[in-house]
């Protein structure tokens, strides 16, 4: 009853190959196929239009607005939510007393579900009843309309990430703690203070982790969808709309599956491009 020898490895790997093919490669191929048609759900695929969907997307103002917004999100995230955890981790590493308490607090944002964050922050930003205006008024910054403001809305969306870095803090902390103690001891003997050690030892030693985190952050932010969808639905005046939200809207609001998938495909292309560039850069760095 022995199975043929060659077939057994395939049995082991079959679930992985099948699932990936069926649930990733097939849908993405389908996306490409749909993007070439004026897709008709009931009588698929509908009229073939070649790259017409791509071309007409490029002509739409909203498409470009959503791209611009997505890159603003990227910059905001890097400044507000990417750098803070590094700082937090560096200092958290220095703390000996109450360390457990602080760590427990830092870990909270990781487990708070997105919907709770949104419910809470929508109310915090409320111009009348919210906490934000109470605080800004108190410190003399005046009141703002936050999510109603064309220029502040994107900031208001990303800001919660400034307070809660989530898991990143602990990744950096572990990386710092993984640096051999002797390096620091030698530096101390050489007369280097902690500030200098931070710049000369700590940061260079965790730069690899930072680079990896950066790649993941960029990929994540370029796909940003849940947050603008739940917070603002992309308004006001599309000022918080993202590329991914646009994809959902083409499909759900306009039932234009061709445009939605064409946009998906372009987004994937840009993400791939940026990731490859980043990988190349970080490789060069480590060399």
């Amino acid at each position: 009853m022995q199975m043929k020898r060659w077939i057994r490895p395939w049995l082991f790997i079959a679930p992985a190959l099948l699932s990936i093919t069926l649930l990733k490669y097939y849908p993405i191929a389908q996306a490409f196929f749909m993007s070439l048609h004026e897709y008709d759900l009931v009588h698929p695929p509908g009229r073939f239009v070649g790259f017409g969907n791509y071309k007409s997307l490029l002509d739409i103002g909203f498409f470009w607005t959503s791209w611009r917004n997505t890159f603003v999100y990227l910059v905001l995230t890097l400044v507000l939510a990417f750098i803070p955890p590094i700082i937090q981790a560096v200092f958290l590493n220095e703390i000996k007393r109450f360390g457990r308490l602080f760590r427990s607090i830092y870990i909270l944002p990781v487990v708070i579900p997105l919907s709770v964050t949104v419910i809470l922050w929508k109310w915090i930003w409320h111009p009348d009843y919210g906490l934000a205006n109470m605080i800004t008024r108190y410190v003399g910054l005046g009141t703002h309309s936050w999510l109603n403001d064309l220029h502040l809305a994107k900031f208001a969306l990303i800001f919660p990430g400034f307070l809660g870095g989530g898991i990143a803090v602990f990744i950096y902390l572990a990386a710092i703690q993984g640096i051999p103690e002797e390096i620091f001891e030698a530096a101390t003997l050489d007369g280097a203070g902690k500030w200098r050690q931070l710049l000369r030892i700590t940061l260079p030693n965790i730069s690899f982790v930072i680079a990896i985190q950066l790649i993941f952050t960029v990929i994540g932010v370029l796909q940003i969808l849940d947050l603008p969808f739940q917070m603002t639905h992309g308004g006001p005046v599309n000022s918080t709309s993202s590329v991914a939200l646009g994809i959902y809207e083409y499909a759900e609001k306009n039932m234009d599956y061709g445009a939605a998938t064409a946009s998906s495909f372009m987004l994937m292309f840009v993400i791939l491009l940026i990731t490859v560039v980043q990988l190349l850069l970080s490789k060069e760095d480590t060399n």
Binding site: L41, D59, N148, H233, G235, P236, V237, N238, N254
Partner: protein, 459 residues
């Protein structure tokens, strides 16, 4: 977003939403066909009952249905032992879901669809022809003619008008009488009242403005009252944009004044429709555009029904009262068996029949909350069945006579109108004409050319 009504009304609601959802997602006139009643001078007696048993799939928002809606289905099944109604709970927006479900072969057998959406779907051939059923329907001559044409394509009827609801204007009588004010008849009075009723220290403001991503639903009324329209239709059916016409500019100026000069609207412009209704119902806001079938909704949110005033919309610079009438049609999904279609028709005739409408009204009266509504039978009058606030009834009658369909091309134009209006609402210094011009140019380039080409191509 689109789920706004989903939470409050019924399956039919779903339809109503659609009714409400002009093409993409903006909401048209009023709402729930469920409210508009149900029917049943049962032609069922006459129609030959299918021999074998049939199961009909329906979509309903069972979470928010009243006990009455449920009992209606049970009564129907008792009368038709061979028909089983299988209800699938749908609390969301059935607008696009129907198309996807149709494609996947899991569409409900009977569906309520809003007017604008129906126009789109009828072209796609989703529905079964109703002519044979209607021909033997005792009510066929008494059924309303209003918006009948929406359900007809090339002489064949695919949809039965089962809900009609004009948009009106609601105000909080308690707040008005405290301030010793009369309900507004014109824009100027509306502004003056709103100013007097705005008291931020008491957390109270004059006018709730819909400013979310389907604000054109309300904005169009003001454009009409200013004597113009957002688009005009040419003889060949193509549309021409009128964003920069004086009427649109005037309407937007009104919005700008309400927001910036008089400051009588909610400070949170992103407030969604649900939030808006909630603030009106709890007396934070004194006025809003109001569909009569929202009466149960505001009542359940805590508003005393006796505090709710419903009047025709304040008249604008044109001097003409204009409003829109929301319409929903009920259709049978086309790709089901003949027996099922027959059963589906039985259900429609029962649900929207005279008996069911009457019973529903009586149930509402018993509960003390009767929304004024237009009957879908010519010889039926709501006040013959139940007692109705005479002021409401009068307003409704005027609404009927001044109601029209939504602006043409809404399905593709919403986002441009929204962009221009929102810009003015969030940026004090925005130039009205420039913003409108900008959006008109964008709309022309991105949407209208294609729309017109499709119209000419007969799609």
């Amino acid at each position: 977003m689109k789920k706004w009504l989903g939470s409050t009304l019924v399956l039919a609601t779903a339809a109503s939403m659609l009714a409400a959802c002009g093409g993409n997602n903006s909401n048209s006139g009023a709402a729930s066909p469920s409210e508009s009643g149900s029917a049943a001078a049962s032609p069922s007696a006459k129609a030959s009952a299918p021999a074998s048993s049939v199961e009909l799939t329906l979509w309903a928002n069972t979470k928010d249905e009243s006990e009455f809606d449920k009992s209606l289905r049970n009564e129907f099944m008792a009368l038709h032992p061979n028909i089983k109604l299988n209800v699938i709970d749908k609390s969301g927006d059935t607008n696009t879901e129907y198309a996807i479900a149709y494609a996947a072969g899991v569409a409900p057998d009977v569906i309520d669809i809003s007017g604008p959406m129906f126009k789109k779907y009828i072209q796609k051939g989703y529905f079964a022809p109703l002519d044979d059923f209607i021909a033997s329907w005792p009510e066929k001559d008494k059924h309303t003619d209003v918006f009948k044409e929406i359900g007809i394509k090339d002489g064949t009827t695919y949809g039965l008008v089962t809900f009609l609801g004009p948009m009106m204007f609601g105000y909080n009588k308690a707040l008005f009488s405290q301030a010793n004010l009369q309900p507004p008849k014109t824009w100027d009075e509306m502004i003056a009242d709103a100013v007097k009723l705005t008291d931020r220290s008491k957390n109270q403001y004059g006018y709730s403005m819909l400013a979310n991503d389907w604000l054109d639903w309300f904005f169009q009324f003001y454009v009409w009252q200013a004597g113009g329209d957002l688009t005009t239709v040419k003889d060949d059916g193509t549309i021409e944009l009128q964003f920069t016409s004086p009427a649109v500019v005037k309407a937007l100026e009104l919005y700008k004044d309400l927001k910036w000069k008089d400051q009588v609207v909610q400070s949170d412009i992103t407030l969604d429709f649900n939030g808006m209704v909630q603030e009106f119902a709890t007396g934070k806001s004194a006025m809003m555009i109001f569909a009569p079938d929202w009466v149960p909704m505001v009542a359940s949110l805590g508003m005393k029904v006796e505090d709710l005033g419903i009047i025709p919309m304040p008249v604008g610079p044109s001097g003409q009262p204009v409003t829109s009438t929301g319409v929903a049609l009920t259709a049978i999904t086309g790709n089901i068996s003949k027996e099922k279609q027959q059963a589906a028709w039985e259900w429609i005739a029962y649900r929207y029949g005279r008996d069911a409408i009457t019973k529903k009204l009586q149930d509402q009266e018993k509960k003390g909350i009767v929304p004024p509504q237009i009957m879908i039978y010519k010889d039926m009058k709501q006040s013959d069945i139940v007692t109705l606030d005479p002021a409401w009834e009068e307003a409704l009658n005027e609404g009927v006579s001044t109601g029209r369909d939504e602006y043409e091309g809404k399905a593709v134009l919403t986002k441009y109108v929204v962009a221009a209006v929102q810009k003015v609402l969030v940026d004090k210094n925005a130039d009205i004409k420039a913003e409108l011009q900008k959006q008109q140019d964008l709309a022309q380039k991105e949407a209208v050319d294609k729309y017109n080409a499709d119209v000419l191509a007969g799609k």
